[in-house]
């Protein structure tokens, strides 16, 4: 066997797991924004239903792909140190409260669902950060990026709902909030990329490098421009804003998918020194692939 020790793409967490980060992040972001919306007197049912379905769908997807799905409840055994257990602990009450909020549309339930959704989103971010075998995931600056993109996706979804439902008051507020969320997300992305420089395998850095242009361009610059144009062209406001929201949402999903599925190169192996063999001499160490 000739293994050189270079990092390789992990295959333990594939797109099935990535879907949970995609939909869970969007769903919790949406519930968070919907909670703010209820304070302004906006309807709660539609965003609550959608948020609930997105989170439940992601969790169902990942649960079905456990090696032993019938033991799923064992995931509740380690709240002391495991963020996966903590996510499961939050998920139960969150789904219940979101369901009640969707059915009853009480402001208090909406606020509670929003708070639980924020916790759920934070758990998801920490789950990735604690995966210490994957350099692109364990970087602490990934946490603000996951939070920012979850929020941006939530605002984008809320804006789409507002446009489809004709909630005029919510449209303007959602548009402004989307602008702010996109700025926060691109700043978080820059911070993450900067922190990762030299701290991840070359292959992983290459994946993120290639993702940069479409993420920044289609996911930030385009929606920002569309929203600005929408302000000046009232007749086309709705379709332009919808396009901006859609681009922001898809970019968020795209970057999370790229980070989980394509940039998940493992640590690889390294030696601090090469041994002296036979009459030869020892030498410097090696960290292949970095």
């Amino acid at each position: 066997m000739n293994i050189g020790g270079k990092p390789w793409l992990q295959t333990h967490w594939d797109w099935h797991v990535a879907v949970n980060f995609l939909t869970g992040g969007s769903g919790s972001g949406l519930l968070l924004v919907a909670a703010l919306g209820t304070l302004a007197g906006q309807p709660l049912a539609v965003p609550a239903w959608l948020g609930l379905l997105l989170i439940a769908g992601g969790l169902a997807q990942v649960s079905l792909h456990l090696g032993r799905p019938l033991r799923g409840l064992n995931a509740l055994f380690n709240p002391r140190t495991s963020w996966m257990t903590r996510e499961a602990f939050v998920a139960g009450p969150l789904l219940l409260v979101a369901l009640l909020a969707a059915l009853l549309e009480w402001t208090l339930l909406g606020l509670l669902a929003g708070a639980l959704a924020a916790l759920f989103l934070y758990c998801q971010a920490r789950i990735l950060k604690e995966a210490r075998g994957i350099p692109a995931w364990r970087e602490p600056r990934l946490v603000p990026l996951i939070l920012a993109t979850g929020l941006a996706e939530g605002v984008a979804l809320y804006l789409l709902i507002a446009l489809a439902s004709g909630w005029h008051e919510a449209m303007l507020a959602s548009g402004v909030l989307l602008l702010a969320a996109l700025v926060a997300r691109i700043l978080a992305w820059r911070g993450y990329r900067q922190a990762l420089r030299g701290n991840a395998p070359k292959e992983a850095l290459g994946v993120l490098e290639r993702a940069e242009a479409p993420f920044a361009g289609a996911g930030h610059i385009a929606p920002l421009l569309l929203l600005l144009v929408a302000v000046g062209v009232p007749s086309a406001q709705a379709p332009l804003a919808a396009l901006a929201a859609l681009a922001a949402l898809l970019a968020g999903w795209g970057i999370k998918f790229a980070i989980v599925v394509h940039a998940g190169y493992n640590q690889g192996f390294a030696i601090d020194h090469t041994p002296a063999r036979g009459a030869g001499t020892g030498g410097l160490g090696s960290k292949p692939g970095w």
């Binding site: 090696g67 090469t274 030498g283």
Partner: protein
């Protein structure tokens, strides 16, 4: 206190993979699963090229990230430092596998066979269904250690109480013992040789040391 560790002398290892074969034979791991493996690393560029054979596997870290992330508490740690997996608790989420910086963990979903023609008799007879769909990794042959201790033997010294890979090593490159005992074989080796641990900067405090000489 006892903490069992493994020591690999990089100058002695010849990359024969006997330890790999001994581990597979002892633990009946599935095709593609190598709890103990030996890397063949080429370092440098022509004409200044060196070659190193590097045994790797579960490092039985003192601060194991795999244990901290495990949602089911299936991954645990014994008082003697061995990192364990309870196959009956594990849900197969693979979180431990992505938390391990040593790529030491495996998941086998279905019964596997080495050859297309069908399963070998050994594969059928020695299959452990409890290991399907759950995380698995090197145990430092904990069953051999426990057996040895129950019979007054010393792990690392008496073969019956020593991991199979260490017993099989043709060059005595692999050694095993209690690092908390200053008189043990591993403590003596570490006291008299230069050594390092892999990915020490990650702070997992691996229980696997590599010896080297500066000459």
């Amino acid at each position: 206190m006892t903490r069992y560790v493994m020591v690999a002398d990089l100058e002695r290892c010849v990359g024969c993979q006997t330890c790999t074969a001994a581990c597979k034979h002892t633990n009946a791991t599935a095709p593609g699963v190598q709890w103990r493996r030996v890397l063949d690393m080429e370092v440098g560029e022509f004409p200044d090229v060196r070659r190193a054979f590097v045994p790797v596997g579960c490092m039985h870290c003192a601060d194991p990230p795999c244990m901290h992330v495990c949602p089911s508490t299936a991954t645990g740690q014994r008082a003697d430092g061995l990192v364990t997996i309870d196959y009956d608790l594990c849900i197969g989420c693979s979180y431990c596998a992505v938390a391990c910086p040593y790529q030491a963990r495996y998941m086998v979903e279905q019964p596997a066979q080495a050859y297309r023609e069908g399963r070998m008799r050994s594969e059928t007879q020695r299959e452990n269904p409890g290991r399907l769909g759950v995380a698995q990794k090197c145990t430092f042959c904990s069953d051999r250690i426990d057996y040895g201790q129950a019979h007054g033997l010393t792990p690392g010294i008496d073969p019956e109480a020593t991991p199979a890979c260490v017993n099989a090593c043709i060059a005595s490159a692999l050694q095993f013992g209690d690092i908390e005992d200053p008189e043990s074989n591993v403590s003596q080796l570490l006291a008299t040789h230069k050594h390092f641990r892999m990915h020490e900067e990650l702070g997992t405090e691996p229980g696997f040391y590599y010896l080297w000489e500066d000459r």
